[in-house]
């Protein structure tokens, strides 16, 4: 079983729609949770970084963490064509190294 499970999609939505992404994990030691965005031929870029269970908002982005269910989510409101990218969830436990999900490819249609 993978430590981090993420549906690779692809996911295609019309401009203005809400994009909903999620990951589940099995390692109870994970304590920091991140969402990265990766454009084609680029490196991952950090979008959101959370520690505790609950919601965190940053502009059009909302990250949710539910440690009891080992489930994290990312919501993108009012999606734009420029949001088309691969979104990766990632987590850190006690060993400082990132464990990534497979990434979900998102396309926002104009």
């Amino acid at each position: 079983q993978k430590e981090v499970e993420q549906d690779p999609g692809p996911l295609s939505v019309p401009e203005g729609a809400i994009v909903s992404l999620n990951c589940t994990y099995s390692n109870s030691a994970f304590q920091y949770f991140m969402w990265y965005r990766q454009y084609s031929r680029k490196g991952p870029e950090l979008l959101m970084y959370t520690y505790s269970s609950g919601n965190k908002e940053d502009g059009r982005f909302t990250a949710q963490v539910d440690k009891s269910s080992k489930y994290i989510s990312l919501f993108i409101r009012d999606s734009q064509p420029s949001d088309s990218a691969t979104y990766l969830c990632a987590m850190i436990g006690n060993d400082y190294k990132l464990s990534f999900g497979a990434g979900t490819t998102v396309t926002v249609r104009a």
Binding site: Y32, E45, Y96, K97, L98, A102
Partner: protein, 113 residues
């Protein structure tokens, strides 16, 4: 401020050859990480430097891979001899402290024929 840079951006080599990848972290970042993504798989951790010392190399696949970090600045990852399964994208990341944001470079795409 310059970001993490990696060289080359793409390398194509024959099986059995040697390749050296280079990473220049953000200036002042003591922590440097190497990750790899092979086709169809997740990005996987390879190793972690704190300054010039290897903190964790548990993700290195085998002894054909050798990483160094000269003087705690740039790092190199050498693959010798390269095998077909080494093909993938190799990412370098750096952070000021552990648990801080890791900033990623654009990656080196390695193709072994």
């Amino acid at each position: 401020e310059a970001g993490v840079t990696q060289f080359p951006s793409h390398s194509v080599i024959e099986k059995g050859q040697t390749v050296t990848l280079r990473c220049d972290p953000i200036s002042g970042h003591d922590n440097l990480y190497w990750y790899r993504r092979v086709m169809g798989k997740e990005i996987k951790f390879l190793l972690h430097f704190v300054k010039e010392s290897k903190q964790d190399e548990s993700g290195m696949p085998n002894n054909r891979f050798l990483a160094e970090r000269t003087g705690g600045t740039y790092s190199t990852l050498k693959v010798q001899p390269a095998e077909l399964e080494d093909s993938g994208v190799y990412f370098c990341a750096s952070s000021l402290r552990v648990y801080n944001e890791q900033f990623f470079g654009p990656g080196t795409r390695l193709t072994v024929l």
